[in-house]
């Protein structure tokens, strides 16, 4: 194994001293200096002309502002008072989501760690904008001491480089799904270190038909649902792929008509279906039809939205996932059947017409193996330090216990 610094592009700061990172002083979670740094970063990003073209960068900038970080800190109350960062966190960001690396970094810093972040190798403009803003803030005298705590790097898949960074870390955070996890796990980490892994997940949406009909603004709901799905090609782990309708036949029928018609308007105006994805979706439909009982494709004006009605729920539904607007649909009177198919693959349940506490009680009392998040429709992509059932702040810090 040999580390070749020339194989690594350091995006922020432009030159990093990786080898000193393990000897840096650990910070306390939600430390004042990190809070101030994030707030300054937020201000730079919100004022950045180029950033305005990227809603995901603006959302990230908004996330970093003082008010939000304070609010997050308050949710931890005294739970973080005897904690310290673990040391060095090595983050491997997913290749296809531009801003995820930045959120991962923020969680690492807020927990009190020095962070090495592998940004996606695809040259997303968002990566450049965020790294530029960060460099600018770190140039200021007040933040110079933090420079050593951050290294955002980019390199082509290379096990020697990954091995070098892995050897320095106290915790390794692996995004990018099952295959990436398998690959990275072949590279060892120090004895005390551990991997925090974000595997491939499956997400669903549950809609109380009568409530939707009574209370929802169809256009607003369609935009929210669009943001949960098509905005990320329906391929984020939190994007729903199964839509479960709860209610009487009449209410469900009316609700579906309104919901999908409104969504179709939105999709038609905003989404381009790539030809290969159209073929993927037809293939997914055929596979469902061949393997699952009672499958019916709903009649729609085109194939922007494929709605595959299934007559029964089974626990292998995640094998039929398909990106780009392919939804399984199931009707029921209550959540009992749904509870019976939830596996550890299930991540986000988004809802319309339910009380979140009531849904949480349903997860807890049924002892379900999956479902880590309950969010209203439109909020599935909102990032928080609790993700995939892990509280990142807790996992990325250690307790100093007084016995």
């Amino acid at each position: 194994m040999q580390f070749r610094p020339d194989k690594v592009e350091c995006l922020c700061p432009l030159e990093a001293a990786y080898d000193i990172m393990p000897s840096l002083r650990a910070l306390r979670p939600f430390s004042a200096e990190i809070g101030a740094f994030l707030n300054a970063l937020s201000q730079v990003l919100m004022a950045d002309k180029e950033a305005k073209a990227y809603p995901d960068v603006i959302t990230f900038g908004f996330f970093c502002r003082k008010g939000n970080i304070e609010k997050l800190k308050n949710t931890y109350e005294t739970r973080i008072s005897h904690r310290l960062g673990r040391g060095v966190a090595f983050h491997i960001a997913p290749a296809n989501v531009p801003v995820n690396f930045a959120y991962s970094l923020v969680c690492g810093l807020l927990s009190g760690n020095a962070c090495i972040v592998r940004a996606p190798s695809k040259p997303f403009p968002q990566t450049g904008i965020i790294c530029r803003a960060m460099r600018q803030v770190l140039e200021r005298d007040a933040f110079r001491p933090l420079r050593d705590y951050i290294a955002i790097v980019r390199y082509d898949r290379n096990n020697d480089t990954t091995a070098y960074f892995s050897g320095l870390c106290d915790v390794r955070i692996i995004w990018g799904g099952d295959d990436t996890i398998d690959e990275i796990r072949k590279v060892p980490i120090p004895p005390r270190a551990f991997d925090l892994t974000f595997a491939d997940r499956y997400s669903i949406c549950v809609i109380q038909a009568a409530v939707y009909l009574l209370e929802s603004d169809p256009v607003k709901t369609a935009q929210d649902f669009y943001n949960d799905t098509y905005l990320y090609d329906q391929n984020a782990c939190s994007s729903p792929r199964l839509v479960v309708w709860i209610g009487t036949d009449g209410a469900i029928c009316a609700a579906k008509r309104r919901f999908w018609a409104a969504l179709h308007e939105t999709v038609q105006a905003r989404y381009t279906l790539a030809p290969i994805v159209a073929v993927d979706k037809l293939t997914a439909l055929c596979r469902c039809a061949m393997d699952l009982p009672g499958v019916k494709l709903a009649i729609m004006p085109d194939h922007l939205i494929d709605r595959i009605h299934i007559a029964n729920l089974s626990s292998n539904l995640e094998q039929y996932r398909c990106a780009g607007g392919s939804f399984l649909e199931y009707d029921d009177q209550n959540l009992d059947a749904l509870a019976s198919i939830i596996t550890r693959k299930f991540q986000t349940l988004s809802y319309i017409g339910f009380q979140p506490e009531e849904l949480r009680e349903w997860v807890l009392s049924n002892g379900l193996a999956g479902i880590d998040r309950l969010v209203p429709v439109g909020r599935t992509a909102d990032f928080g330090p609790i993700w995939d059932g892990y509280d990142l702040i807790t996992f990325l810090s250690r307790v100093c216990d007084v016995g």
């Binding site: 279906l273 073929v279 037809l282 494709l297 922007l304």
Partner: protein
């Protein structure tokens, strides 16, 4: 119309109206047949809520994505009646399509192919020079696309030799002897586009060996992807080959193992043509509606040949452009078109890095 009558019709002689009438009747019949005989196919049509009893144009028939044949064994006959299983050529590790042929379907494929090819090289069997290695035919029970192509086109020959040995090296001696024996006679030259380029053309260029193929008719297929990577256009291909071996008649064809027999042959004007045994419909991604002439879209194909597997209407993963119908200056009736290669991998967003790996 029964098979015999239809196979007697010259393959490029039906105009749009006649061809559509015939294809609609035949293909709707095949749809009913497969609906009855293949449970998996029936489930797909039921899911699409397609009514097979209603008469319709073949434009309205459901089509299966070719990829399904890689994941499922789809057949409309008893497995005991399968005489031949064809597989697509995939690189190792890739899943391959499996196409099951009974006696009747295999015979129809042969008949259709021979009608099409005869219209190019004449009804007489010719000596055949195969620009490939006999090694691709090693396995006799399953046929790769390359092997199937060689065997299929070998029917039109009375004597054949392979230009490449087991190691893909040029057999100069064999070629020379073969050409001397058939001096002054027409010969059939067959191969796969990239192999011809890589192992025949380049070798001639390198060695200075110049066999005289001026009486040859070359048929080649298999796609242009690798040659486009080397920036070799169809015109370059023809000109370069002419320079090294004097060959003048060079015809590309488009075809797929899922619809063997119905090849789409290139004409003297460089256009690919649909014969009366098959047709092609260019479709839009958004709603699978029919694209206009000149508009790029996804290639859907139909064939009247598949009786033993539900492959009479398929959606390929290729892009193409319809150039016209019944009015190609070459005089052949039917649609003519060009292909634009494989559909591009989508640059899809999402958390998992492996989307492309999973579905391709």
């Amino acid at each position: 119309m029964d098979d015999e009558t239809y196979f007697a019709i010259p393959p490029y002689s039906l105009d749009k109206v006649k061809k559509q009438t015939f294809l609609s009747e035949t293909l709707c019949g095949l749809t009913r047949h497969h609906y009855q005989a293949c449970p998996a196919y029936r489930r797909v049509l039921d899911a699409m809520q397609f009514d097979t009893t209603r008469a319709c144009s073949y434009y309205d028939l459901p089509f299966l994505p070719v990829r399904l044949f890689k994941e499922y064994e789809l057949l409309s006959v008893d497995k005991a009646d399968v005489v031949k299983t064809m597989t697509s050529s995939g690189t190792s590790g890739q899943q391959v399509s499996k196409i099951f042929l009974d006696k009747a379907t295999a015979a129809r494929q042969t008949k259709a192919l021979s009608r099409i090819v005869a219209s190019y090289i004449g009804p007489k069997r010719l000596p055949m020079l195969i620009l490939d290695t006999p090694a691709v035919l090693k396995s006799r029970t399953t046929f790769s696309a390359r092997g199937a192509g060689i065997l299929g086109f070998s029917m039109f020959s009375r004597e054949r030799i392979y230009a490449l040995d087991e190691n893909m090296d040029l057999d100069r001696e064999g070629i020379t002897t073969f050409l001397e024996e058939h001096l002054g006679k027409d010969i059939l030259v067959f191969g796969f586009t990239f192999i011809i380029w890589q192992h025949f053309y380049k070798e001639l260029g390198r060695t200075g060996f110049r066999p005289d193929l001026s009486r040859g008719t070359m048929l080649h297929g298999g796609g242009w992807k690798k040659l486009l990577d080397e920036a070799v256009s169809p015109a370059d291909f023809k000109r370069s080959l002419h320079e090294v071996c004097g060959i003048q008649r060079v015809y590309d064809y488009y075809g797929m193992v899922e619809q063997t027999g119905c090849v789409y042959m290139e004409c003297e004007r460089g256009h690919l043509h649909a014969s009366i045994f098959s047709d092609l419909i260019i479709r839009r991604a958004k709603d699978f509606s029919v694209a206009d002439t000149g508009e790029k879209g996804i290639v859907q194909v139909v064939s009247i040949l598949p009786g033993s597997y539900p492959g009479h209407a398929l959606l390929t993963e290729d892009e193409g452009i319809l150039l016209g119908e019944d009015d190609c200056p070459c005089g052949r009736l039917g649609k003519y078109f060009k292909t634009c290669g494989r559909l591009q991998n989508a640059d899809i967003r999402g958390c998992s890095d492996t989307y492309a790996v999973q579905t391709r």
